[in-house]
Every structure is written in C-alpha cells, then in structure tokens.
C-alpha cells in the first residue's frame, strides 16, 4: 500500500515529519517497506536565474553563464544547453549535490579551461521527466534562491506492507485512523454527504446470489464528461503506483485507495435489461479489463445483464462495459461480496487485483452508502452529470461483535500493564466501544477481531511493545535434565562418527527426478510425487539417500575432484498407514573415485572398493550400537548395486540394517559418473534400541591371568565358499576356548588345486584357570578341523 504524505494529511491533522510517521507506522504493526522522500533526492538543487550568457572561449557549443543563486556573488557555470540564455530561471545543482539520474556528485571543476561551479539541469537529469533537449525553464517569477525541492513540491511516499488481517488499512483513511490513535495527530471525519437523486434509477439491479453478493447498491449518473482526471487526483494515484486512465476510472480507484472501498463504473449504454449478481454458469467466459479471457464456473459470482457477464464480481470488471472517453451515462456499483467466495474465485482464476485484495480480506460492510456518496460527489464535481436516486438490492452483513474483555489481560497475556483509562482511550480512538463492564464492540471495519486476545493486541500495539519487559521463564531446580531422545542421540553420534572417519556431510534436496526415484524405489510401494513441483527435476520424494549423493558426487567430479567421500543423514519417504508417510532416518554414504592419490610410497592411485564400503558400514553400525558381531552378510543389495560386489548386513534373515558395495555401472552411467563409486545405506530406524533403563555400571570384567595362545590353520576349500562361513564355523567349533578368529590369507594358484582356494585363519585361544597342555591343544585343533570339514574344508598339509 503506497500513499503520499499529502494524501495522508487529507485525513490526518498532523505536524509530524515523514520520518516520525514512518517510524510510528512500523511500531504499530503497519510495516514500513520504504519511505521515498524526493526532497532528499533533490537536496543541493536551487532555483537560479541566468544573468549573462557568453560564448565559451574554447568551445563552440558551450556557454559561460553567470548565475544568480539568490545569495552572495553570482556563480560562473559552464553550460552546453541550447536554450541557456540570459534571463532564464532554471535549476542549478551546486557542488556537492548528487544528480538523481546517474547518481554522480557535482564538483567545482574546469571545463575546457573555464571554471564551473555547478550544473544547470534538465528534467531527465533530475528524473522528473524525459526531456533532455535543454535545461529546465521555470516561470520567470519562480523565487530565486529557494530549494528546488520546496518550489517543485516534494511529497514523500510511504510504502507499507498491510498484513492480511487489516482490510481497514487497505485505504489511506484507515492508516490515518491508526496513526491518530497512536498519538500522531487528529483524524479528520469523512466528509460524505448524501447527494440527492434527481430521478429514479433507470437501471434495475438485484442480487440473485445473496450468498456471494449479499448487497448490491448502485445509481446512475447521466451526462458525465469523461476525460483526464485533475492533477491532484493524478498525483495521488501516481504516489500509489497507479497509472491515471480517465476521470471515471481514476475516481473509482481513488475511493478504493483512500477508503478501502472498491467500486465499479459501467458504461450504461453497454448494459441491457437489469443488472444483477448471480452465479456464473460452468464454462461461461468473461473478457476482463486486463485483456484476458477467463473461463468461469458455477462457484463464482458475477455481475451480469441479460446479455451476459460484465464483471468477475469483486475482482475485475469486463472489457465491454468499461468506461471510455465517450462514456456519458454510468452505472455505479458498490457491493459487498463474500470474502471466502472472492478468495476462492481469485485463486482458481489465478487473478489478483486491488479490488480482490480488499474484498477477500473483508471490506467495511457499513460503508456502502458512504462509499457511493463519496464517489458520486467526486464524479459530479469533476465530470459533471446528474445523479439518480440510490437503488439498493440486498443487505450487507451486520457482523457486530461484542467481546467480553478484561483489561488485566494486557498484562497477563500481553506482558505490559496499561492503565484502564489509557486502554479505553486507545480502543475509542480505533473505533471500538467499551461499556462500563468492558464489553467491547468492535467497529464494522475490523472483521479480524473476534476475541479478547485481539483486544489485547490492539491495546498493546498502540501503547507500544517497547513497554513489554523481559520475564524469565521459571527454571527447574538444579542442573538441567537431559532432553534428547534415543533417536536424537543416535543421530548426533553417527553424524560425528562419519565425519570423524573423514567424510563430509552434505544436505541434498528431499526431492528427485521421478526416474531416479523410481530406480531406487523398487519394493518401496509407491513414490510420493508432487502435484505441483518446481520442476521435473524436483518431483519425487526420495526413497533412498543415494541418488542425491550421487548427483552431488557428480558435481564435485565435474569440478575436478579426483576422489571424495560424502554422507547425508536424513529421511527416506515411504508410504505409511492411513495414507500418511513413513519417514525413516537413514544414513547414505558415497565414496567416489580415488581413495588415495598416487604417491611416492604407494605408487598408483587407489580407487575406493567394496571393502571400503563394508568398513564404513560396520564401523558406523557399531557406532550406532548395532550388534555387529551377530550380523550376517547376505545378498540382495538392490539393482542399483554391482551384483557381484554388494551385500546386505542383516540381523536375522529379514532385518536389513545396511546395504553396501559398488554402485552398478548402469546406475553410474545414468548419473553421468565415470569413476567407480562405493556406497553404503544404513537404515538407522531398523537398529534395535537398547532395552530397559540405562545403567552406567558396565558388566564386570577382569583381564584373564593367563596369556592367550595363537594357532594358525590353513584350509583348502571350494573356491565358491564364502570365507565368512568358514570363519563362523571355526569360531563356533569350541566356544569355550576360541575367542577370536581372524582370516589372514586367501590364496589361489600354485599348489592349490583348480576350483579351490586356500584360506588361512589365525585362531586365538584363551586358557582359563590353567595353561593348555599338548593334549588339550590337539583336541581343540581337532574340533576346529572337524567343524571346517563340514564345509568341505581340508586342512592343508
């Protein structure tokens, strides 16, 4: 909402400066977006008279002027304008002034060897117009020496952001009312006088849609002369950022901007039969004033005559019945439209307008008559013509609300104690009425007020929020109690653990291109697809954290990175019960390209491989508190992974805690990645939580007194036997003695038969009370070889 200071002063008697008003606007909740003060832009420019104009000694097109600035000696100014001449009164920019067009500062200088003490300006240089053919010529009696800003008339313009709850401040008058209540002046009463009609309204009006249009008032004015509106109206509209069109259009706009009261003027000759509000018919069209045709439906209200729709009610008038230069008879429409209907219609048509903004917030239902009289008065005054009597169809809602209020609430809710007298005064100034028992009646222009807290807000905002004193929240006794949940602790721990392992945490979009999401979604039971994505690239909610990380890896590789490790902790979005989502906390890791660059000691660069992914998966599952010793390495990591170099880590056959391995080359190709990538996805939600209350004391432990014994075994096994199966068999061969089994060799080739491999394990045996003797060690070794033999393993000789 933009308006000028002089417009505000139409309604507010005030001596306050523009700056003081600006500050107060923000302080009472009418947030100032900007205050543009042309006087500031024109400071340093004065009205000046050219006394003499001589040819410049060194340049044909320049003249040397002697200029009277009203004080002291005349100044010498070099000027190139063809119209510069003795006797001309114009505008001189003094050294130090900043020229609005171009923003450069004027300085005392020498032009072709002649001193110049300023610049005579054109309208374009001062951004007052387009003329640049010569310097400004003011009337001969313009007062030499006065600041040009003062002479020209400078009117500061406020731009205020009006919150959606304040339709009353969608007009300058409402803003003036708030400022007056806040002590910045006196509100001038609205000078609406009933204009008597000279004849009955010749155009019948009615409302056939009392829900959408409860009230439709109107009157005809005959014999108007439409032309440009007077300068003062044009100035006001320009300050509001509106382009003057013609007097009739400008005056309806003026009433809307001044009083928040939209109105419409139809060219009477374009109407036939009665004019009435009704529901649109499905598929009916209206060519609106913005030149666009809108297709309407039966949920929308329109103003129509026998021939068709003339107006998308409360939003935009129609092209056919709008006023033109030729218009001589007009029908004025001042109506009340249902705010919900207006909002719905506007959203459906994707059509905003100044009228819609006001109607959908709720215009003052008690201001129809006054609005119509104000508009009539202005039209008759400016365009002439003869008004008919007012004709009224329907009735606007009453909507008077009485609220039981208690003035102590200013303190108990608003945090500031305000004397009852001051509260009464504030409410009165805002148009509220409070009786002795503090039953408060809200004014008709405040549809937003419907409870005691609203009254608190009014009182407190006008009194000033500066008065609210900081009040500490009560503290619990002693040291603060821990607040984090188990999941929050898990998330924090895992995050710092991954970062400590050398990976960088990324945050990537929650949405993906649908094809990428689909590729990663197999078995997830339906993607969440946005109905109105910003682009097709951001359409599907991610079912996995890997695609976002792969794209991030690609961007890094494209920027020249040779190798990188990225991780992200976030949600996967799956389908849950009752049509809701199932959002699961997940860790994604990608290890792309070089693990170690080529080096003087290590030789060629080493690429990340599946075991790097396995190492991350196990280390991080351990950090997350998963029972890593009980996990099984199984298959089915998913089609996005290399089928021979990927696996899942499971707790029991069904519960998948992680999947890891090399990303499938086809997947990499889709993501435009041309280096090998190892990846891990850790399903943190699947990790079983700790049972029971947390205890701090660990289980009892004392290191064994006797030293552990190590024995090596090498077995020949089928080349296809998973090494993990052999390790598990050895470990469970003698649980009383075997405490650890480490596989240290996997060999195929010379000395090993075709189709077999040699696996060597180091077994750690822990004696209990007494040391092993030879017979015991032999018995343990036999149990180990027997357990291995069940897998077809032969002890190597």
């Amino acid at each position: 909402m933009k308006f000028s200071l002089s417009w505000l002063k139409d309604h507010l008697e005030t001596e306050a400066s523009a700056e003081a008003i600006a500050e107060k606007l923000s302080a009472i909740g009418l947030e100032l977006e900007s205050l543009e003060d042309p006087a500031a832009r024109l400071s340093g420019f004065v009205v000046a008279r050219v006394l003499t104009a001589e040819r410049h000694p060194n340049a044909d097109k320049l003249q040397v002027l002697s200029v009277d600035t009203g004080e002291g000696q005349p100044l010498q100014v070099v000027c190139g304008a063809p119209n510069a001449r003795a006797g001309l009164v114009g505008v001189l920019g003094l050294p130090g002034a900043v020229v609005p067009a171009g923003g450069f500062e004027l300085k005392k200088s020498a032009i072709r060897g002649v001193e110049s003490n300023g610049m005579m300006c054109s309208t374009r240089e001062l951004e007052l117009g387009e003329d640049h053919d010569g310097i400004i010529e003011l009337p001969g009696d313009a007062p030499v020496g006065t600041a040009f800003a003062a002479y020209h008339g400078s009117d500061p313009v406020f731009d205020v952001a009006i919150t959606p709850n304040r339709p009353d401040c969608m007009g300058v008058y409402g803003i003036a009312r708030d400022l007056a209540a806040a002590g910045l002046g006196t509100l001038k009463p609205i000078a609406a006088q009933a204009v008597p009609g000279n004849f009955p309204c010749p155009m019948p009006i009615r409302t056939d849609d009392p829900e959408g249009c409860p009230a439709f008032y109107g009157r005809v004015i005959r014999g108007v002369k439409n032309g440009p509106s007077p300068q003062w109206i044009q100035d006001r509209l320009k300050s509001a950022g509106q382009r003057p069109i013609s007097a009739l259009v400008d005056l309806t706009n003026y009433v809307m901007l001044a009083y928040g009261r939209p109105a419409h003027a139809y060219d009477l000759t374009q109407l036939s039969g009665a004019v009435f509000a009704r529901r649109a018919r499905d598929g009916e069209t209206c060519l609106a004033l913005n030149g666009k045709e809108y297709t309407l439906d039966a949920a929308m209200t329109v103003i129509a005559d026998d021939n068709g729709v003339h107006d998308i009610a409360g939003i935009m008038g129609g092209e056919h019945s709008g006023c033109t230069e030729a218009t001589s008879d007009v029908l004025l429409e001042v109506a009340y439209f249902d705010p919900v209907r207006i909002g719905d219609t506007g959203r459906k048509l994707n059509l905003t307008s100044d009228a819609r903004q006001r109607f959908e917030r709720g215009v003052d239902p008690a201001f129809l008559d006054a609005g119509l009289e104000l508009l009539t008065t202005l039209i008759v005054e400016i365009c002439g013509g003869e008004p008919s009597e007012v004709i009224r169809a329907g009735e606007p809602p009453k909507g008077t609300k009485v609220i039981a209020y208690n003035p102590v609430m200013a303190e108990t809710l608003g945090g500031v104690a305000i004397a009852e007298g001051e509260q009464r005064a504030i409410l009165h100034a805002l148009g509220f009425a409070a009786d002795a028992q503090w039953n408060v009646t809200a004014p008709s222009w405040r549809p937003d007020v419907d409870g005691a807290p609203d009254i608190v807000e009014e009182v407190v905002r006008i009194h000033g929020l500066d008065g609210v004193a900081s009040t500490p929240l009560p503290r619990t006794d002693g040291v603060v109690r821990p607040t984090a949940t188990a999941v929050q602790r898990l998330e924090r721990k895992v995050r710092r653990a991954v970062a400590a392992r050398g990976l960088n945490e990324a945050i990537t979009w929650s949405f993906l291109p649908e094809a990428e999401a689909e590729h990663f979604a197999e078995g997830n039971g339906g993607l969440w697809l946005l109905a109105n994505p910003i682009s097709e690239e951001m359409k599907a909610m991610r079912p996995s954290l890997l695609p976002g990380l792969l794209s991030a890896a690609r961007r890094n590789l494209d920027r020249g990175a040779a190798g990188l490790g990225l991780f992200e902790l976030g949600r996967r979005y799956l389908r849950g019960p009752s049509g809701h989502s199932d959002e699961r906390l997940t860790l994604g890791v990608v290890l792309a390209g070089e693990k170690t660059p080529r080096g003087w000691a290590s030789g060629k660069a080493q690429m990340f491989d599946a075991f790097d992914a396995k190492a991350e998966a196990l280390a991080l599952l351990a950090e997350a508190g998963a029972p890593v010793d009980n996990l099984q390495v199984m298959g089915e990591a998913g089609a996005q992974f290399h089928p021979g170099q990927s696996a899942t880590l499971r707790l029991g056959p069904k519960t998948v805690l992680a999947r890891f391995g090399m990303v499938h080359p086809a997947t990499l190709k889709h993501f435009d990645v041309d280096v090998p990538v190892a990846a891990v996805e850790l399903f943190l939600d699947a990790i079983p939580g700790k049972r029971g209350a947390a205890t701090f004391a660990r289980m009892h432990y004392a290191p064994p007194a006797l030293q552990a014994v190590k024995r090596d075994f090498a077995f020949l096994v089928d080349a296809a036997l998973p090494a993990g199966d052999l390790v598990r068999a050895v470990r469970s061969a003698d649980k009383a003695n075997v405490v650890a089994v480490r596989l240290f060799d996997d060999f195929r080739g010379q000395g090993v038969p075709e189709g077999q491999k040699s696996l060597a394990v180091e077994v750690t045996l822990q004696p209990g009370e007494k040391s092993y003797d030879e017979a015991e060690l032999k018995a343990i070794a036999e149990r180990i070889t027997a357990a291995a033999a069940k897998l077809g393993a032969m002890l190597r000789g």
């Binding site: 945090g415 608190v456 500066d466 984090a484 949940t485 653990a497 990324a506 697809l529 170690t596 003087w600």
Partner: protein, 365 residues
C-alpha cells in the same frame, strides 16, 4: 718376563682390530682357555709364595688391562657399526606422510546441535514431526482455514494424495504443525523446539524450495509476551555469544498467534557484513527482521486438545539456515544444498567441536 712389553703389544693389537671378528680372535688368543694370558695365569700355581707375591699382581694387571681394552674396543666398534647402519637408513622427511581425509559436519547440523544445547538449558526438549503433512496439521489446526488469504502466502507443494480422513497431503510449509502434534501427544505444560526441513514452492537467489526452520513452543499457566521476549533475548545472546543483543518487537500478524509480533534485532555493518549487537537505532546500526512469534492463538490451543481458558503460551519460528549464515558468515543459501566438498571443507565443522555450554556453543573461525 717383561709383562709391560707383553701388555703394550697386546693393547696395540686390540686397538688395531678393524672388526668384531678380529677382536673376538684376539680375545681368544689372549684370554681364551688356551690363550696366552690365560696361560700366564696358570703358571701362578707352580710359583713359590714369594714369587707369587710379586708376579701375581703383574699378571692380573696384564689380564685386566687387556680385558678392559677388548671391552672398550668392542663398544667402539659396535657404536661405529650402528652409526654406519643408521647413516644408511636415513630417509627424507620432507617427503609427504600418508594423507588422511578430514571430514566435516554441515553448518545446519552444527547449528541445530547448538540450538538443542541452548534450549535444553532453558528446559526445552527437541520435538519432531513428519515433513509430508496433511493440510489439517499444516493449516487448519493452525487457524488457517481453506479460504484464508494466509494460505496463499505459503507457496505450498501438494501431493495428489489424501489421507484416510480425506485430508490433502502436502509438504509442510513450516515447522508449526509440530506444535499441534506436541500438544496432542504430550498435553501441557510444554517446552519444545522443533527444528527441521520445510518446503515452499519458491526458488530464486535468496530462496530455495527446501530450507530449515526451528519452531519454539511454550504452553503453561501465566505465560505472557514478556516470557517470549526473555526467551528470545536469552537464546540470541547465548547463540551469538554477545551480551549486547537488542531486540525490537513489532506488531504483526500470523493466523496462529494473537497477539503476533515480529522480532527485529539490532546490527552494525562491520567490514561489509552484518554483525548482530547493539540497538538498531544507534549510529551506524540498523534493525533486521529475524523471527516471527506471538502468543499462541486460542483456536490453536484448542486444536491441540487443550483448554485455552486454562493454558496459554507463546510460539516462535526462525530460519536455521539464516541463523547459520548470520553467525558463521556464509552469504549464499543455495550453496548449503549443493554438496560441494570445497564449501563443506571450508564452512563445515570439525566433528570434535561438539557444542557444549561449558565450552561455548559456538566454534570460533
């Protein structure tokens, strides 16, 4: 016999021995079982007591002298051998050591941890809610009915889906629905913050379609705007670790609060960047909008299943990405979500810098 001459000769030969082998041969020659000096010692037994009195000490001195010389020579040769070996083992320690990657924690995560730490001290727990929400939790329960103009202010991402109750599914436009979920789940009194991802259909230089917000909610008895002001002041002072943070409350409008206040914070321009602190009205200072807040609307309390005549409270919301930018000096929001390892290495945090109250929640540059 001239023991002195024998000694001199032996010592000369020991000194001339060039390696440990030659030295060992000399030891055997002199002191071995068949050694020449060992032989002399054996002659003592055949001597008279008087002769032994004079000769004995001479022979013993000879043996000791040679034995000491052999030992000293052995030490010298061993030291020389070790020195030679070490000299041959010299490496160039200006060569690079094996590199290990340095990881980092994203600024948004770090700031979320800082928020949790600060608010824990004021008795706030951390609450969460789904990002794929229904329109009742995201709008209706927050006093934003279907036709409310405020719905249009939120550029909402919708799904074509509806839940079992027929509610439209959408991406939450703010963290405020967690208010409703917390009240319905836990009743009152409540002190929570709810950090998380939120979504608006908005994308330009300073807006991203996904960003992070933190919600705060206090529901209790006798809570006023004064408590809100104290809480935000206390939080901002702790977060920016400055005692001179000055807040300015401005009346505003949010459907879910009444009264509603916008919170501005004073700043100064230092080296071209906004640095919070001081009154915005002081010379060289200004005010910037930082938070939206207010007293929770009675309708919202009722939607949360609580009696608004019994309970009242305040709520606030702030952008986490923005708080991170203000504190740590990033100036491009889009970079937060790009995953550029150079940016992450620069603006990310050492995982050992865990925010704690005793160590200061912030991490110095």
């Amino acid at each position: 016999m001239d023991y002195a001459a024998t000694r001199d000769e032996a010592l000369a030969r020991v000194a001339a021995a060039q390696d440990l082998g030659a030295l060992e041969a000399l030891r055997v020659e002199f002191l071995g079982k068949q050694g020449s000096i060992s032989g002399l010692l054996k002659t003592l037994g055949a001597m008279s007591a008087e002769e032994r009195q004079t000769t004995g000490p001479q022979i013993h001195a000879l043996r000791e002298g040679v034995s000491d010389a052999l030992g000293a020579r052995k030490d010298a040769l061993e030291t020389a051998a070790l020195d030679a070996r070490l000299a041959s083992e010299t490496v160039d320690l200006t060569l690079p050591a094996p590199e290990s990657a340095r990881g980092s924690v994203h600024p948004v995560s770090q700031v979320m941890d800082e928020l949790a730490e600060i608010f824990a001290d004021m008795g706030f727990a951390v609450a969460t809610g789904p990002e794929i929400e229904d329109d009742w939790h995201n709008f209706t329960a927050l006093n934003i009915p279907e036709s409310h103009p405020a719905r249009a202010m939120h550029d909402t991402f919708y799904f074509p889906d509806r839940d079992a109750d027929g509610r439209a599914m959408l991406l939450r436009t703010h963290t405020s629905p967690v208010q409703i979920r917390a009240m319905l789940a836990d009743g009152a009194p409540i002190r929570i913050i709810a950090p998380g991802r939120v979504y608006r259909s908005d994308s330009d230089a300073t807006h991203t379609p996904m960003f992070h917000q933190v919600e705060g909610l206090v529901i209790d008895k006798g809570i006023t705007l004064g408590h809100l002001k104290w809480t935000l002041e206390t939080f901002l002072k702790a977060f920016f670790e400055r005692e001179d943070i000055v807040l300015r409350l401005r009346p505003s409008y949010f459907p879910f609060t009444e009264p509603s206040v916008e919170v501005d914070v004073g700043f100064a321009i230092v080296n071209g960047k906004r640095v919070l602190g001081g009154s915005g009205d002081a010379p060289g200072h200004g005010w910037m909008e930082l938070l939206g807040s207010g007293m929770v609307n009675r309708k919202v309390i009722a939607a949360g299943g609580l009696d608004p005549d019994e309970w009242q409270g305040f709520a606030f919301g702030a952008g986490i990405d923005r708080l991170a930018m203000l504190k740590y000096g990033m100036d491009d929001l889009r970079a937060f979500f790009d995953g550029d390892v150079r940016w992450l290495a620069h603006y990310g945090f050492n995982p050992n810098d865990v925010p704690t109250l005793s160590g200061g929640v912030g991490t110095a540059a």
